[in-house]
């Protein structure tokens, strides 16, 4: 190998670097964790909150990769906030985790006037923040526009198994949907079992993305609900015994299905966009998405076949809502509450539902709205591709707790992917 004179010096530096790295690591890991108690909003009347909000600036941190969403916030929501005396500043982030990490470090540093005033969040990010007391709580019940939401709506009271507890205000809903090419499938399946049967009768025309891809992961959870005999049979919270009794049946079913899948199930698309490409290229006859609002556009620009339709399942699919949360480190919580309230107003929810604005499903219960506004919601342009949300979300069930995700993903990887 090397002669000795050449190694001595580098080795000394490498050792020094190791010591530096180790000490940095130890300092980082020995930081005292802040308390995980969620701070509670001050008890103020709504008019006091509106007064406090005057002239303030609210930084809304949100995923910046959705052009329609960015345009909606800039051109529709921001002017409405300005009319209420609040300046809204949109901060695009690559992933919501960036915002959560920022809030967690601000909390560690004891910041009370942090950079983040409002976050578009749901699921694991909300749950992670809740564990660390990152969200301001006990404020959404005061928002005047909450009266238009259904207090019994399970999608709004529990976020991927984490109780919402008035710590985040609902913003819009999403629905997991299967999508198919009606030119290739004349008589579409009506249940997930029938989808499996159809796939077995038509080898190579169906597949799903490999978890941990978000969409593939949802599909495996749908299969879990299906194989367990319905959503009531799977407890929302994870526990190992339930997993051990329920999971093997799912993996057996998916293993039995595998030989009929694209490429004989020896491999899977690595991401939902890879599956979308297969569908767009006519390699398979079905795809799946958590954001069906984009479908009319994909059909219109010729990416997807013109006969693309949505497959509604009799037993329903997973739905979820996404929310606006106020960090406990924000110094502008009053102004942030005003913005969250405006975002929840029937006017904003209606504008946001327009397919050419953002096409996001409303969180409001339209039966609680005035007849005029309800008529406007019903008059939203219908698309042959995309049925209205009522039809899409029939029998929708809420997401399982985030605790289910990793065990199922890993179990699928070991039992189905590596088993082929």
């Amino acid at each position: 190998m090397f002669s000795r004179s050449h190694t001595r010096r580098p080795r000394k530096y490498a050792f020094a670097a190791l010591v530096v790295a180790a000490s940095v690591g130890l300092v980082l890991s020995s930081c005292a964790a802040p308390s995980s108690d969620a701070p509670v909003a001050e008890e103020l009347s709504w008019s006091e909150i509106e007064q406090q909000a005057q002239g303030k600036t609210v930084s809304l941190w949100m995923y910046g990769g959705d052009e329609q969403g960015n345009t909606y916030v800039d051109n529709v929501l921001t002017p409405a906030a300005a009319a209420a005396g609040v300046t809204l500043r949109r901060v695009p982030v690559e992933s919501t985790t960036d915002a959560v990490n920022r809030i967690l470090s601000e909390r560690q540093a004891g910041v009370t006037d942090g950079e983040v005033d409002l976050v578009w969040v749901n699921g694991a990010n909300f749950g992670t923040g809740q564990q660390a007391g990152a969200w301001l709580c006990n404020w959404t019940q005061h928002l005047p526009n909450m009266e238009y939401t259904d207090p019994e709506d399970p999608l709004l009271s529990s976020d991927f198994g984490t109780p919402v507890n008035n710590c985040e205000a609902p913003w819009h809903k999403a629905q997991f949907t299967l999508v198919y090419n009606s030119a290739a499938i004349a008589d579409p399946p009506r249940t997930l079992d029938e989808v499996f049967d159809w796939a077995e009768a038509n080898p190579g025309r169906f597949t799903y993305p490999a978890p941990p891809d978000f969409t593939g992961s949802v599909f495996v959870r749908e299969a879990l609900v299906n194989q367990s005999g319905g959503v009531d049979k799977v407890p929302a919270q994870f526990d190992q015994d339930t997993y051990d009794s329920l999971a093997p049946a799912v993996f057996d079913r998916l293993n039995a299905l595998a030989p009929s899948l694209w490429r004989g199930g020896t491999t899977y698309p690595q991401s939902s966009s890879e599956l979308d490409d297969l569908y767009a290229g006519g390699q398979v006859d079905m795809t799946m998405t958590y954001g069906p609002a984009t479908l009319p556009q994909l059909v219109a620009d010729g990416t997807y076949p013109p006969e693309t339709r949505i497959l509604t399942l009799d037993e329903g699919t997973v739905g979820n809502a996404s929310f606006l949360a106020i960090p406990s480190t924000s110094g502008e919580s009053a102004a942030a509450q005003v913005v969250a309230n405006i975002a929840l107003s029937p006017e904003q929810q209606l504008a946001k539902s327009e397919p050419d604005v953002w096409g996001q499903f409303t969180v409001l219960d339209t039966s609680r709205l005035t007849p005029e506004v309800r008529a406007q919601f019903e008059a939203l342009p219908a698309s042959p591709v995309l049925p209205p949300y009522e039809e899409l979300s029939a029998n929708a069930h809420p997401e399982l707790a985030a605790g289910w995700v990793t065990p199922l993903d890993e179990g699928w990887r070991r039992s189905v992917l590596a088993g082929q």
Binding site: A21, T266, T267, L278, R413
Partner: protein, 277 residues
């Protein structure tokens, strides 16, 4: 230490210190994480659990990484050598093409390969094979598209390095041998190749270590199982389960060890070769 030695040491320090700090710091942190000494949650404790948790997957990933890197490096070296040899005849076209290829990022190259070779890509459309009959180049069992992408991009790099050597003294030796009556093949075997060997070894070693560490090409053109070490490391690193971080560091450490061993062997070979001095 002589005056000259001190001065030469000082000259290299600006280059060496940042490298050692960044690489050493990164590798050090990863090593500590993989050994359970830098946990995100819980107390630090020395353990090899992260390595054993990966189990058999670690071996299949290591084998796959080695295979892809070896095939890609061999292809890139041969193609690069053949391309650079055109310089001797005074033709510059290949070198211009290589220079243009070098400017393309691997991410773009991989996406382009995907658009070209996937089942519904450009080539199967041209040949009318989108409904079957097209080989599984992308995401297939043999990782063909991945090896092709590396071979194409890295052969350009090899060609530029080798052409630089050819342009210096090889041409003179080559002409001398020709006037002495050596045929084309004899000149290549006895003159050109021995003089090019160090440049070839260096560029092949760089290509190999790059391929071992690269993530995006395998992620875009590969398949989810088995996965190369770099893909495994990033998948575990971005897992929503924080307990998977040490395993991510373990996969990264194995890839780093592989790259370091190959680099050391190559450097050792180069130091011994007469041309290097």
């Amino acid at each position: 230490m002589s005056q000259r030695k001190v001065r030469s040491t000082l000259w290299v320090l600006p280059a060496v210190i940042p490298v050692l700090l960044v690489v050493g710091g990164g590798l050090g942190a990863a090593l500590l994480q993989s050994l359970g000494l830098m946990p995100l949650v819980g107390r630090p404790a020395l353990t090899l659990d992260a390595y054993s948790a990966l189990g058999g997957d670690l071996w299949s990933s290591l084998a796959l990484t080695l295979a892809v890197a070896t095939v890609s490096t061999l292809l890139a070296t041969f193609i690069g050598l053949a391309a650079a040899s055109t310089v001797l005849s005074g033709n510059r076209t290949v070198l211009i093409a290589a220079a243009l290829t070098l400017a393309v990022p691997h991410l773009i190259g991989a996406a382009a390969m995907g658009l070209l070779l996937a089942d519904s890509g450009l080539l199967p459309r041209v040949f009318g094979l989108t409904d079957g009959g097209w080989s599984e180049l992308v995401g297939g069992r043999w990782w063909i598209a991945v090896a092709l992408e590396y071979a194409w991009k890295e052969s350009a790099f090899v060609a530029i390095v080798v052409a630089g050597t050819l342009a210096t003294r090889v041409a003179g030796f080559d002409e001398t041998a020709a006037t002495l009556g050596a045929g084309r093949w004899a000149r290549f075997r006895l003159v050109t190749l021995p003089l090019l060997r160090p440049a070839l070894a260096a560029s092949a070693a760089i290509t190999f270590t790059y391929t071992v560490g690269s993530y995006e090409v395998a992620r875009i053109l590969g398949r989810p199982y088995p996965e190369p070490l770099s893909v495994m490391a990033i998948r575990l690193f971005t897992s929503i389960d924080l307990a998977a971080r040490p395993q991510a560091a373990a996969a990264a450490m194995v890839a780093a060890a592989l790259a370091i061993v190959v680099a050391a062997v190559a450097l050792n070979y180069l130091r011994r070769s007469a041309v290097w001095k």
